[in-house]
């Protein structure tokens, strides 16, 4: 069966309207997406497809729509990053160490989505334990970006770590997907794939049931093709959850209503420190264009200083590995996942973890263990926590004058699979513009704004005050309307 392109081309908001009007059924919508997924298997986007579950959920949605009791996301097919635990569906975190693990519970965020009527199509690929910026560290192989450079058919990375989710949304295999963002893992892949990615304020979405990477930074959020669609999904992902000790008790607005907020008189900050050496000229001019678009929407640009920006990345590469080394201590071969037998308990741990973790995860656990070890804790970990305070203070200071901050999402467009593989630091630099807001816990959104010289998508990032997702949604909508970003990436891939 070939995919019905009219149905997969819809935005989430359009599909919601079409389902309500009876233009098509949830079953038809789901079948169109399942067929698209089958066409796109060469992109290696899904670790697991869940067609039976999707069809059963769609049938239930059709019953509810017929009975007039449709829920807010009734019948909307989604991809779920395989970092969210899903009851009865294997969850891998793209790691060999979770081999055979099937959660007996549902993550808080996905439970909310299913309660709202959404339908799961499958679990999307990611960097192992969400550690990576290219989706090449997955135990299940790299994801290919549906976009290609003009006149060059080499497969490119989709960004990471939510690379499968971003590629799935770009190739129109689902109407939206969940992602998680620790240092840029929603926003950077969204930029590389020409889609929208929203990282909410830390504490907005419950971390309960999301495989932990760095708990003081991890945050779930939506990836979609439009700003409106991200606003719709976030409304049904966010909310207080007592099971997450850092979940914030704070009312969840209907984020979609923020689309039409007036921007007149608001100030947009342009941080001079984000003009880094070697930045792509295309990105620099797109950034200037973005400022102009927001001026047209009535905003006033203000040059601001975020003086500790250059230190954010090294801070992150101490704190995130430190938290990861602690979080990943639970993978011991005893309670779930992979086990390699050893002569004694210690050997069993060492063989299991030696075999179960891939290179990047191993590297980060070792760094984390080192910076937390006796004699080095103060010099590395404590120092990084102090500089984190300074990074956060920079933002506090800036938000006394401005209402949003506009930056590029990443310093370049998608690169080829295999590039930057042998230089961890070059890979880490992908997150140079996304990490600072993560350290400060602030909301950020990446919106596709144009193409580079090779015809690849570039994104602009808006960062807002804590719990003010609404202003960045409104500003992102203003950029989206003026950028009129277009492009039709393919579904062809080379994965076996």
């Amino acid at each position: 069966m070939t995919a019905d392109r009219a149905l997969t081309a819809l935005t989430l908001a359009e599909a919601r309207a079409g389902l309500r009007a009876g233009d098509f059924t949830a079953t038809e919508l789901v079948e169109a997406h399942l067929a698209a997924m089958a066409e796109a298997r060469g992109l290696n986007v899904f670790i697991a497809e869940t067609p039976e579950r999707a069809r059963a959920a769609a049938a239930e949605s059709d019953r509810r729509i017929a009975a007039g009791s449709a829920r807010p996301l009734e019948g909307i097919p989604l991809g779920i990053k395989d970092l969210f635990c899903t009851d009865g569906v294997a969850t891998t975190a793209a790691s060999r160490i979770l081999d055979g693990f099937t959660p007996p519970y549902e993550s808080a965020v996905t439970a909310k989505l299913w309660e709202a009527g959404a339908v799961m199509l499958g679990k999307t690929n990611l960097d192992e334990f969400a550690m990576g910026s290219s989706n090449t560290t997955s135990h299940f192989g790299p994801v290919e970006n549906p976009w290609r450079r003009r006149g060059d058919n080499r497969p490119l990375v989709p960004g990471g770590s939510s690379g499968g989710s971003a590629a799935a949304v770009a190739a129109k295999l689902c109407l939206g997907a969940t992602g998680t963002d620790t240092g840029g893992s929603i926003r950077q892949p969204a930029a590389f794939c020409g889609v929208v990615g929203l990282k909410p304020t830390y504490g907005r979405c419950s971390r309960w049931g999301v495989v932990a990477f760095a708990s003081s930074l991890d945050q779930a959020g939506p990836i979609t093709r439009t700003v409106r669609d991200s606003a719709i999904l976030l409304t049904h992902m966010a909310g207080f959850d007592a099971r997450d000790s850092t979940s914030i008790e704070c009312e969840v607005p209907d984020f979609e209503l923020a689309m039409d907020r007036p921007l007149k008189g608001l100030k947009v900050g342009v941080p001079r420190e984000y003009r880094v050496d070697g930045m792509d000229e295309g990105i620099e001019s797109l950034w200037r264009q973005g400022v102009q678009w927001l001026e047209e929407a009535g905003m006033e640009p203000v040059e601001i200083a975020l003086p500790h920006t250059k230190y954010a990345l090294p801070v992150y590469y101490i704190l995130a590995p430190a938290e990861a080394s602690s979080n990943l201590a639970r993978y011991d071969g005893v309670r779930y996942g992979l086990r390699r037998e050893g002569a004694d308990l210690r050997e069993m741990y060492e063989l299991t973890r030696g075999d179960g973790f891939g290179d990047e995860v191993r590297r980060r656990v070792l760094i984390g263990t080192y910076v937390l070890s006796a004699g080095y804790y103060d010099a590395y970990y404590l120092k990084a926590q102090k500089v984190r305070t300074l990074v956060a203070r920079d933002f506090e200071e800036a938000f006394r004058t401005v209402d949003v901050i506009l930056t590029p999402t990443a310093p370049g467009a998608a690169f080829a699979i295999g590039e930057k593989e042998d230089d961890p630091i070059a890979m880490y630099l992908n997150d140079v513009f996304t990490v600072p807001a993560s350290l400060a816990g602030l909301p950020g959104i990446s919106v596709p704004a144009g193409l580079d010289g090779d015809g690849l998508p570039l994104g602009l990032q808006l960062v807002g005050r804590a719990f003010d997702e609404e202003t960045i949604i409104a500003a992102a909508a203003a950029i989206e309307a003026r950028a009129a970003f277009e492009g039709e990436p393919g579904r062809g891939g080379t994965a076996p």
Binding site: P314, Y317, R335, R363, L366, I367, Y370, T389
Partner: protein
């Protein structure tokens, strides 16, 4: 900061990760490079700056002291690589 092979082996042992001997040199170079890059933080004056561990308010919530979950032994054990008679099994630890 430069890490030698022996230090990498010691960290790996702390982290309970078996690393093949032939990987140790490469890892020592890689990790030294990363730590060297991280060391630029020493330029920053952090005297009188408090450390930050969370962006959320540091105060933890209180709740009533009662059981909120549990009674799911079989579900918990269902994922164990080896479980017998309602227990996780591990290699013998006491002679």
């Amino acid at each position: 900061m430069s890490l030698d092979k022996a230090t990498v082996a010691r960290i790996a042992s702390l982290a309970r990760i078996r690393i093949p001997e032939q990987d140790l040199d490469g890892l020592a170079t890689e990790l030294s490079k990363i730590l060297g890059w991280i060391e630029q933080l020493s330029e920053v004056d952090t005297s009188d700056v408090p450390p930050m561990s969370q962006t959320a308010p540091a105060k933890l919530r209180w709740r009533e002291d009662k059981v909120t979950d549990g009674g799911v032994r079989d579900k918990v054990l269902a994922n164990a690589p080896d479980a017998r008679d309602g227990f996780f099994t591990v290699p013998k630890v006491v002679e």
